[in-house]
């Protein structure tokens, strides 16, 4: 252990701990902008400077390891003046139109400026003399260079967490900027729209593209019938933006709030998550049968899940030769969308052209997904508007709802039923677990051999998880799988997806089925989730997801009554002709830059 003094208080920390972390242990707050728990040390912004006894200059506490006998002061005149000047200098190059900014009241730079209570400018305002680019090309987010303070959290996120590096630092000095390849629009580079950078940007330089006003317009339009679906990960995180602690489940209140906002029908993505399991589970079993029994060499294994639109775009850019390995199933959002304007419209006797389909997602890539040209199987745009968890919180605040005191409510019927299997889609390993719960039962007629249906080997925060399930006691139809060992793998965060894909490319991946989620922790850590998101918070949300699952009466997708009903009334059976028409899709190869 290393002993040091911070503001005359003793603290002992492990070797390698930064001064910043040591101060945190003493509950001494040192401001930071470029530092983020998920990312490597950068030392770019300098806001965290502190005074070290005997040192000639101030040191950046985020980038300095604590050492024995160190004496640190965090609030001397020298430190205060330096920090104040640093923040002022950042502001001198920052287009501070705060009251009109999307990040107003949710901006780390604004918070610091507020703390320092600048009365006036000390330095010249350079914003007016600079040429800035505001890139609105992506349907998912806006990149506004005039707000950028070049802390490079986004650059580190894109490279360390997501292995994409769609953006990098370009030019130098006064011309330094965060740039895509040769300043191309973000819609035309390898960007997966995952929004992890948006979640980490300390200012308004990277924000989701919002569709709140379009959704309000639809709600107020008496001619429109507005349906809303909410993804499983939203209900365990929405509370954070409404004054709750991380990890609190607000499912019932959220449903009530959506009704109060004026949505005509409040439905659940859980329904189509269960449907995904039926379609994808069947697809997997059919692929296995064709490969193992029929010896069909054209069958691509392992099969990859296709729920995460960030992951889809990643493989389209980076590993297009493995597109046949992707499940052809649409994501739950898009299955829901396709059914809302067909099955639901018919059942409720509503003209599908009058239906506006809205989804609330923990995700920014879903905005891109809804815009894909393939996603129009109903004859209309299947999902009209996608809002993030954060945007829903904004709508709830705009409507003046007293969220905390709302009664709990339940989703409407027809596409509103849910199971525990669908809920866990929100956490890494969840789709795998849900698929195994159903597939194992189809093949053997028995429940998965795990206590209380909890398939623990596929859970948790390890970047890459592997598991083997031995299949025994098959029913007649699936006898060919008797004794077979189903090998599965799970990755979350594209840097981990890349590890698996490298193995697959080298022919060293023995798996049959692989679940990949673009975001760290799965959807609970999605780019559209409340800010901040970090490891601690992801773990709390994950715990909440599994608690939600345990609380459900139905915990297997094939037991969802709405799913059973839709096959009976509309789709016939999984992978039927109708299913393929509405619930399956195809993918495109994209450039790798």
């Amino acid at each position: 252990m290393i002993n040091l003094l911070i503001n005359d208080q003793k603290v002992s920390v492990q070797a390698g701990t930064t001064v910043l972390a040591a101060a945190k242990k003493l509950k001494i707050n040192i401001p930071t902008l470029c530092n983020h728990d998920d990312l490597c040390v950068a030392g770019n912004c300098r806001v965290c400077v502190v005074e070290q006894k005997g040192a000639r200059t101030l040191i950046a506490s985020c980038a300095t390891p604590a050492s024995e006998g160190m004496e640190i002061h965090t609030n001397t005149l020298k430190v205060r003046n330096a920090r104040k000047h640093i923040v002022e200098l950042l502001l001198s190059e920052h287009r501070a139109d705060c009251t009109k900014c999307y990040k107003n009241q949710n901006c780390e730079l604004q918070t610091l400026a507020n703390e320092f209570a600048f009365g006036d400018h000390i330095f010249l305002d350079l914003v007016e003399n600079k040429k800035y680019n505001i890139d609105r090309s992506s349907p998912s987010f806006i990149k506004d260079d005039s707000k950028c303070i070049r802390c490079q959290r986004c650059v580190r996120t894109c490279s360390e967490l997501q292995y994409i590096s769609a953006i990098a630092v370009a030019n130098k000095g006064a011309h330094q900027k965060i740039s895509s390849f040769h300043d191309r629009p973000m819609s035309h580079v390898v960007c997966t729209n995952c929004g992890q950078c948006v979640n980490r940007c300390p200012t308004g330089a990277l924000v989701e593209k919002t569709y709140i006003d379009q959704v309000w317009d639809a709600i107020y339009d008496p001619d429109k019938h507005v349906v809303v679906q909410t993804a499983p990960a939203v209900r365990v995180a929405l509370g954070e933006d409404l004054g709750y602690d991380p990890g609190e489940r607000v499912t019932g209140k959220m449903v009530n709030a959506l009704r109060q906002l004026g949505f005509n029908s409040v439905l659940d993505t859980d329904f189509s998550a269960d449907l995904t399991i039926m379609e994808e589970g069947t697809e997997l079993l059919v692929r296995l049968k064709k490969a193992l029994v029929d010896g069909d060499k054209k069958i691509s294994l392992p099969m990859f899940t296709s729920c995460s639109p960030g992951w889809i775009k990643f493989i389209e850019h980076k590993y297009p030769e493995f597109l046949p390995n992707l499940s052809t199933c649409k994501s739950p959002q898009q299955m829901f969308g396709a059914l809302a304007k067909t099955f639901y419209a018919k059942k409720r006797n509503i003209d599908p052209s009058k239906i506006v389909s809205v989804s609330i997602m923990p995700c920014t890539a879903k905005k891109f997904e809804a815009d894909r040209p393939e996603m129009r199987s109903s004859g209309f745009k299947d999902v009209d508007y996608v809002l993030t968890t954060r945007e829903l919180a904004v709508m709830i605040k705009q409507a003046g709802l007293d969220f905390r005191n709302l009664e709990e409510a339940k989703c409407d019927s027809i596409m509103g039923d849910s199971t525990g299997a669908a809920v866990i889609f929100g956490a890494t390993g969840g789709v795998m677990e849900a698929a195994l719960r159903t597939a194992y039962e189809i093949v053997t007629g028995r429940e998965v051999p795990f206590g209380n249906l909890n398939i623990t080997p596929v859970r948790g925060m390890d970047g890459v998880k592997e598991a083997t399930i031995k299949i025994e006691g098959c029913v007649d139809d699936w006898k060919f799988l008797e004794g077979a060992e189903l090998k599965v793998a799970i990755a979350h965060g594209l840097v981990n997806a890349n590890k698996i894909m490298k193995k697959v490319r080298e022919g060293k991946a023995p798996y049959h089925f692989v679940e990949i989620m673009a975001c760290p922790g799965g959807c609970i850590g999605g780019g559209g989730q409340p800010i901040p998101t970090n490891m601690q918070i992801r773990e709390k949300r994950m715990k909440a997801i599994y608690a939600e699952d345990e609380h459900m009466v139905l915990r297997k997708s094939h037991e969802n009554p709405d799913v059973i009903a839709i096959y009976k009334e509309f789709l016939d059976k999984p992978n039927s002709h109708k299913s393929h028409e509405l619930l399956h899709t195809h993918y495109v190869e994209r450039d790798n830059y």
């Binding site: 490279s159 994409i164 590096s165 769609a166 953006i167 990098a168 630092v169 370009a170 030019n171 130098k172 740039s179 895509s180 390849f181 040769h182 580079v189 390898v190 790798n592 830059y593």
Partner: protein, 154 residues
């Protein structure tokens, strides 16, 4: 616009495919072609298995690794203080008149590009210019016009 062909592959074989191979590879492409095309940068990214944005980021940091189309002869006029005081402006005026382009532009026949540069270390013999890698010093308008005439004959 040149075609990069096998060049990037050859250079990667020569310098390796590690992150630190990036600079020598980019430098050698620029030595040969005077600037980096998008195609060349994408090719380098592919060979080194890094992102194209990262290659562009590195290239754009260095003034001498141009990412805009440049002519066969790149004339860099030193804009730093000594050369400025010793008559840089006259040199630029002569060059602009002879080449019929402004600073930052390239002639229509893609023979000459005219740009300003920071100090090139010839303060004791100011004003100075570089044409590709060759320095010319203690210039006067007359001297510079002789030099350019020579290049025009080449």
């Amino acid at each position: 616009m040149y075609q990069v062909g096998n060049l990037v592959k050859e250079l990667s074989d020569k310098h390796g495919r590690l992150r630190e191979s990036l600079m020598p590879i980019l430098q050698e492409i620029v030595q040969k072609h005077n600037y980096l095309t998008d195609e060349a940068m994408v090719e380098v990214a592919r060979e080194l298995d890094i992102s194209a944005a990262e290659v562009y980021g590195t290239a754009s940091f260095y003034t001498f690794l141009d990412t805009q189309v440049k002519g066969k002869y790149v004339i860099r006029v030193c804009k730093t203080i000594t050369c400025s005081m010793k008559g840089k402006s006259d040199i630029i005026q002569t060059l602009e008149e002879m080449l019929k382009i402004k600073v930052g532009e390239t002639t229509a026949d893609k023979q000459f590009s005219l740009i300003e540069t920071n100090c090139i270390g010839w303060c004791h013999k100011a004003p100075a210019i570089l044409i590709n890698e060759m320095p010319y010093t203690e210039l006067t308008p007359e001297k510079v016009s002789e030099i350019i005439k020579d290049y025009m004959q080449k």
